[in-house]
Point group: C2
Chain length 154, copies 2
Amino acid sequence: MPSSREQFKVLLRTNGLKITNQRIAILEVLSNRPGKHLTAEEIYEYVREEHPEIGLATVYRTILLLSELNLIDKLNLGDGYVRYEISAKRHEENSHHHHHLICLECGNIYAFQDDLLENLEAKIKDTLGFEVMDHEVKLYGHCKKCIDKKSEEI
Amino acid sequence: MPSSREQFKVLLRTNGLKITNQRIAILEVLSNRPGKHLTAEEIYEYVREEHPEIGLATVYRTILLLSELNLIDKLNLGDGYVRYEISAKRHEENSHHHHHLICLECGNIYAFQDDLLENLEAKIKDTLGFEVMDHEVKLYGHCKKCIDKKSEEI
DNA sequence: TTGGGTGCAAAGGCTTTGCATGTGA
DNA sequence: TCACATGCAAAGCCTTTGCACCCAA
């Protein structure tokens, strides 16, 4: 599999867009942290370590671009920040979307794969005539770590 | 089943909160539109038809209150607006959460019930030790109406 | 009477946009 | 060269907050 960096360059070129240091740097920040869900501000902070001159607006503009190119996925937890992660397709075999487990105590986000929804989507198509193209599943609860920690306290 | 209005009054009273016309009016706007997903601004407009003097801040404050009392559900489509609907529990028999089908063309939102996730949640508990408390499922696609409309155009 | 509730306007906080300058192709 | 990209600051936009007044209980 080509690195997301090379793939990104090709995508930019074929779309008549320019390859800039800022764009590469932002993609690398995300690529180097698969499974991490970073806010725009966090991406900005990481990129600044190497490129102190970058502006937050560029981060937002690049995020939008990466999103349109399907290189990153959005995650909205409803806390006022939109989070981004490198698209799972770059890192996992034949994975379409994955789902998220969000711990209500520590805030950690875990990913998991499941094909359960395929049946559901077929059912929806049959009964309602609604054709599902994409889905988003968020499960809120308590992660193993937090459960274990609590039982230790007793 | 007691009306959500009476239930609401009881909830307010037992929590030492006051029963005001504004609070009742906002709840009624939502109660009269089950399955509709209204933004704060939309709720504000509807309430103003009867109570022109109400302020948008009161709508936001009351929405928060209704949310904490579990009388309304939030829906975040990531378009910059948070939407609210009267809790399905008030209108459907033994329904926990329902899921949402969002049409990418007309923007209409359809609800559906499904217990498929119960299996999934049990599986997650067994394999990952993560205890799911609540979930949110959004399916994006094309609704029957829009599909039919398109095939007519051909 | 009186403390919670409301209306208004201002402030917050994330994100987008305008514009002059910079730069990859 | 030159159209696209960037940085900065200002503007947008939804939502929250401060404060004086109001009104259920």
